[in-house]
Structures are given as C-alpha cells and as structure tokens.
C-alpha cells in the first residue's frame, strides 16, 4: 500500500529531483499501477460510466497492457487528457502510455520525440451531412459551414482538402465531440467532419440516424495508435508486442473463452509461442511467459475488444473495414511471434 499520496507526492517530488529516471517498465512495476492517458470522453473509445469505470476501445488496450505487465487489468490509473495536454503529459512522464485516438504523423514521431508503437485503429477523416441537403460528394460542399474539432489533425486536413480542391468553406471550431454534435443537429453547420469512426458513433446516437449520411470521401489517413516516449525502447517493445499479441490472437483464433484450453498446449507452434507454452518470448520482454495470456484474458483479443466497444452490435456500430485482419482484406497484420 502506498502510504502517502498527497504529502508523499510533494516530498518525493523534491527528493526525486535530479534522480535519473529508470526504465518506464521498472517504474510501472515498482508503482504497481499503469498510468494511461485517455481522452476526456469519446463514446466507444474512452468514457467513464456512472460508476466512474472507464470503458472503451482505447481503454481496453490499457487494461490489456496492465494485465500483461502487472497481472491486474484494473491496475490502471486513467488520466484524462485534452488535445492540448496529451503530449505534455506523456513527455513529462505523467503518463506511461497515451492511448487517445492519436494520429501517427511524422512530426509527432520525429519532432515531438514520441514513438508510435503500432496502429490499433485505421481511421480517416470523413464528412457527415444531413440527407435533405442533397449532397453526394464532399466536393459539392462549396461555401458550406463545417464543424470541426480543434486541436486535432483534422483541422489541417480540412484546410488542405478545401484548398487543393479550390473550394471555399467556413470552419466552425468546436471543443468537444458533444458540442460538434449539438451544433450539427441544430443546423448551425452544414457538415460535421472528424474521423470516420467518430462520425459513425455520432450518427448512431442521433434520434433518426437514417436522415444523415457519411460522404464517400475519406480525405485523410488517420492511423490511430498508442504512443510512448522516445528513447525507452524496452517499454516501447512491451507496449508494441502487447498490442500485437491482441491482434495476433484474433488471427490465430485465440479468444478469451478458449484461452485456458489453448494455453495448455496446441499443435500450432505460433500459438504456443504467443501464449508462452514454448519459446520464452515473455522473458525477452522483461515479463514472464504468460504475459500475452493475461493480456488476452483482460478484455479478449482485438476482435472481441472491437466487437464489444465499437462493433456493429454496439450503438456505435462500426464495421471492421480497414481494421479487419489482413487475411480478411484488412490492414491488421501482426508480425510473427518467434
């Protein structure tokens, strides 16, 4: 049990001054909790429920990671971050991993000194318009008022898209998705643009979803993924391979229900290595060999997490699309576990 929290934080802070930061993995193990940065609220991806329990697609990744490292999927402190504070929170060490639908871009990776450890959702920016507007392509939006969330890459994509197509528009910046939705529904903007997953989630929550369409154009690539600080490769590996384990588990048909059965050994050496029955991959990561079992047991494999939080049976109702396994024509392609 941590004895002190408040005064402890102050005194430890001053004591720890100048102490060289050990590896994040050791820090997390010593602390006993994983600090995970999430968004302040995006339906399906991360939002607290009535009991203060965080739920969602991004949240599940953090839980799997906590299960892998700490053997406890609930040993996660969720730190809500805004578009503004997310990178500072990560850079300053306030959080160990940022799982907040963040687009992998060159400048964030290189200039801001972060390391994207993979992609957990392939997204793209789209447009939502009311059907009665009679618009069938984003290029017909000349002169339209477009609601857009500030502090995201979508803002830059939007400017680029309209500029390169040489059409005019009026941006209406909004702070949160909920406000964007409110403005859009009231007709204060003709179109709402954000990641297509967000649009689908937003549309699904409308009183009459069928009165709105998502235009066919996807104007940007938005590979969303968790990221960690640059330079701590051990920790980066842990996060990367935990995510890969979730993806690979779906590919090999390992689910949370048949996990215990498969963990006793199968004929498929790849599954055996993944689940730690043979190989000893976990120890190479600095964990034990059952890490991937625990990660999968936490919230299920990638497919289960997807289905549970944002899949077609949920109110969000997203199709797998690009996020299907490569064997099903999608882009998910976990490197081999060997």
């Amino acid at each position: 049990m941590k004895k002190t929290v408040f005064f402890g934080a102050v005194t430890v802070a001053s004591l720890a001054a100048g102490a060289a930061a050990a590896g994040t993995l050791d820090d997390v193990k010593a602390r006993g909790t994983l600090n995970c940065g999430v968004s302040t609220g995006l339906a399906g991806f991360s939002a607290p429920d009535a009991n203060g329990e965080w739920k969602g697609f991004d949240v599940a990744v953090c839980r799997a990671l906590a299960a892998a490292v700490l053997n406890d999927p609930s040993a996660v402190e969720f730190v809500p971050t805004t578009g503004k504070t997310r990178f500072t929170a990560l850079a300053s060490g306030e959080i160990d991993v940022l799982a907040r639908n963040t687009t992998w871009t060159f400048s964030r990776d290189v200039d801001l000194k972060f390391e994207f450890i993979g992609v957990n959702y392939y997204d793209g920016q789209g447009f939502l318009v009311p059907k009665e507007l009679g618009v069938s392509s984003a290029k017909e939006l000349d002169g339209a008022t477009v609601c857009i969330q500030t502090g995201t890459t979508t803002e830059l994509n939007l400017a680029d898209f309209f500029r390169s197509n040489n059409i005019s528009y009026e941006p209406v910046p909004v702070e949160t998705n909920a406000e964007g939705q409110q403005q859009y529904l009231a007709g204060a903007c003709d179109s709402y643009t954000t990641d297509a997953s967000g649009l689908a989630a937003t549309r699904a929550s409308f009183e009459d979803p069928s009165a709105h369409v998502i235009l066919p154009e996807i104007i940007s690539k938005e590979p969303l993924g968790p990221l960690v600080r640059h330079g701590d490769n051990d920790w980066g590996d842990v996060v990367r391979w935990t995510l890969n384990a979730l993806i690979a588990a779906e590919e090999y048909g390992v689910t949370s229900t048949n996990l215990s059965e498969l963990a006793s050994g199968t004929d498929n050496p790849e599954i055996n290595r993944l689940l730690g029955v043979e190989g000893g991959l976990g120890e190479m990561l600095g964990l034990d060999n059952e890490w991937a079992q625990r990660a999968i047991a936490a919230e299920g494999n990638y497919g289960e997490i997807f289905a549970k939080n944002i899949g077609e049976t949920t109110p969000i109702g997203l199709a797998r699309g690009l996020n299907a396994q490569w064997t099903d024509g999608g882009l998910l392609y976990a490197p081999p576990f060997r």
Binding site: T145, A159, R163, A186, G187
Partner: protein, 422 residues
C-alpha cells in the same frame, strides 16, 4: 565644541547589519534579492535542462512556418498558407474586438441596471436585483456555454429560410438575417472606391488601409473642427451680447452636407445578405461564437458594474439630490447632471478592474470556438507545433501588455476626471 547630541562615532561592526535599523533594511533587501535570484536561476536552469533532455531548444522559428489552418473570423486577410505569426495576429485582433465590444455594452447595460435597481418601481428594481444575483453567482464559463447553446438551439438555421414557404424570414424589411450561424447585417459598399493601400509589403504583419475610410474620417474631422469654430463663435457672441444665435442648423449642415457629398462621390450603397448555396452571403456576418461570447461577457460584467454604479450613486450624499430638486431639476436631469458626475469618481477605479476582468475572461472564447489569441496562438498553433513554452509565455506576455494598456488608459482618464471635478 561638539554638541552633546552628536552621537559618538561608531565603528562599523558586522552585527550592525542585523541590529541597526539603518543597515538592517539593506540586509533584508539583499537577502530577498539573493533568494529571488536563486529561485529564478533554479527555475531557468531546470527549464534549460529539461528542454535539452527533450531536444527542444527554445526557438521562435516556427512562427514563420505556414499555419495550415483556417480561421473563420478574420479582420485581416488570411489563408491557411500564412504564417503562425499572422494567425496569432488575427487572434489578437479578435480578442480586442470582443473585449472592446464587451466593455462598451457592459458599461451601457451596467449603468442602466444600476440606476434601475434604485428605481421607485418595486417590480423593476426586483427584476434587476434578480438579474444581478443570477449573473454574479454563476461562473462566466457556464454563461458563455449557455449563451451559445441558446443561440444555436433557439434561432432558425439557414435551411429554414429556404423553400417556397420558409419557416423563417429575414427581419427589418429583408435586410437582416438572424440565424443560428450568426447574424447577417447589411454592409457598406462603395461602387467608386478609392481602393486600398497595402502596408508592410508581404510580411506577416501586413495590412490594408481603405482609402475610403480615411477619406470619411478626414471629412468627419474637418466637419467637427468647423463645428467647434462655429460654436466657439456663438459662445463669443453670447458672452458679448447675452444672446446666443441659433446655430444648430448650421452645425447640422456642416456635419451632414460634406459627408453626404463624399458618400455620393464614392458611390455608397448597402450590400444586403442573401441566401446563396449553403449560407447567406453578402453583408457583414457576426458569427454565433462572437455574439455568444460578447453577450455572455457583457451581461456577466454588467452585473458587477451595476453594483458598482449603485454603490457610487448611493455614496453621493442625499443633500445633493435634494438641492438639485430644490433647483427645480427633473429626476432624469438630477441623475444625469448632479448625481452621476459625482458618482463617477467612486465608480471609475473599480470599473477599470472590471474592464480588465472582461478582457481576461475573453480568453474563455475557446469554450465556444471563437478564435481569439488563446484559440490561435495558445490553441491550434501550440497544438500543431508542440512549442508549449514559447506559446504560453508569449500568450501571457500579450495579455499582460493588454492589461497594462487598459489600466494605463483608464488611470489616465481617472486622473483627468478627478482634475475636472475639483
């Protein structure tokens, strides 16, 4: 002979730094300075070290990079290809616009409410008290969000103006369109415009000056100067003969005729907003975000100003209003000519801090997506470049400068009022 009162000449001893009041103050000050410098040095060295660890040395080079984002309300010409510096400038102008508009309306509403709170009419006084308490005791952020929600929800969208039997129509003989995207009002246009002058070439600070506006201002200035002359002459005549010549029509003529002639020469006409495509086009577009922010800030600040005004009026002694009544002045005139000028002395200093508060509160624009300097420099620019240190420090510097300017101007005005009073 030395007088007895002369103290014996003392050798300076080290302990005098502590015990002798003459030196002790110096000791304290040196110590204070020392600790301050120490603190500053510690903070700066930490910052330098942290930045070095992150590999992000302080640099303002990002300012000249293209901003790549659009801003909807821009007082100067701006595209997403312009630099971050220009985006910050646009944001600064937006901050100033809402601050100036807010201060003016807050003053008007505040004075009105403050006077009405003292009204004889029980109902009116109660309503005003209710208004003041409602606005003073609920956070301004909530009011801003609330105002925005009301505008968005209760006003018709441009779509409602369309069709054969539209559910909404334009107001004031089809010249003003009130929509939930903002209010479109007619704009002044010149068909024989003199054109613009481009200043500062291609730099980020470039701006255009409309020659039409300059011409109007020059003519207006000349007219006012001439009016002053005429009224000075009238005063002279009044002093000499005791009779004041009627000059109002001369003054009116001097004011209006040259202006009318100029406007005709320039081909002045109004451009009306009209529904075109998705939106209204033409006219001046006052965006929702501006109106919500402006409304919320001025109503919120007006509640405070009303209290100040009321306090100032109550502080003027009752004898003043009684004396004025004895002179036969009507209540309105008593207020205007006797009470308010005296109350002004009490009112202005707290008013300054309310103007400052309004300006600072305008930084909450971010909640309704109004692109002020917090939204551009402290928002998107900071986000896209990841230069938090530079952006936040610069942002603080800008606000500090604005605050100092406002308090400087208002203090100067305060001094002037005081001199006139006495």
């Amino acid at each position: 002979m030395t007088t007895i009162s002369d103290p014996p000449k003392q050798q300076f001893r080290l302990s005098m730094l502590l015990y002798d009041t003459r030196y002790r103050s110096a000791t304290i000050q040196v110590l204070a300075m020392f600790f301050f410098m120490l603190l500053a040095a510690w903070l700066i060295s930490n910052t330098v070290q942290n930045l070095a660890n992150l590999g992000k040395p302080i640099s303002f080079g990002f300012f000249s990079d293209p901003s790549s984002y659009d801003i909807n309300q821009r007082l100067l010409e701006y595209t997403s290809r312009d630099s971050h510096l220009r985006a910050a400038l646009i944001g600064l102008l937006n901050t100033l616009v809402v601050a100036v508009l807010g201060c003016i309306t807050a003053t008007v509403i505040g004075v009105l409410v403050g006077v009405l709170r003292l009204s004889n009419n029980w109902l009116v006084a109660r309503i005003m008290t209710f208004y003041v308490e409602m606005f003073r005791n609920i956070p301004v952020l909530l009011w801003i969000v609330f105002a925005m929600a009301i505008l968005i929800e209760s006003l018709p969208s441009p779509r409602d103006f369309r069709g054969d039997t539209p559910s909404a129509t334009m107001d004031l003989f089809d010249t003003v369109a009130v929509t939930n995207r903002g209010v479109y009002i007619p704009e002044p246009l010149f068909s024989r415009s003199l054109g613009d002058v481009h200043l500062l070439g291609d730099s980020s600070l470039r701006f255009d000056v409309s020659l039409d506006l300059i011409a109007i201002l020059v003519v207006l200035g000349c007219s006012i100067y001439a009016m002053r002359k005429v009224s000075a002459r009238a005063n002279r005549i009044q002093e000499q003969t005791g009779e004041r010549p009627t000059i109002w029509y001369i003054e009116l003529g001097i004011l209006c005729v040259p202006m009318l002639i100029l406007l005709v020469i320039l081909g002045f006409h109004l451009g009306y907003p009209a529904l075109k495509g998705f939106n209204f086009s033409g006219g001046i577009h006052l965006r929702n975000s501006l109106i919500a922010l402006w409304l919320a800030l001025s109503l919120y600040t007006a509640a405070f100003i009303a209290e100040i005004v009321r306090g100032g009026i109550l502080a003027v002694s009752k004898g003043q209003s009684e004396a004025a009544a004895a002179l036969g002045l009507r209540p309105g005139k008593i207020m205007r000519l006797v009470i308010l000028p005296q109350a002004l002395r009490m009112i202005i200093p707290p008013m300054i801090s309310n103007y400052l508060n309004l300006t600072k509160n305008s930084s909450l624009a971010i909640a309704v997506g109004y692109m002020d300097i917090t939204g551009t420099l402290g928002g998107i620019t900071m986000n896209q470049t990841g230069r938090e240190l530079e952006c936040v420090l610069l942002l603080m510097l800008v606000y500090l400068t604005i605050s100092l300017c406002i308090s400087g101007v208002m203090n100067w005005y305060n001094k002037r009022v005081k001199l006139v009073e006495r």
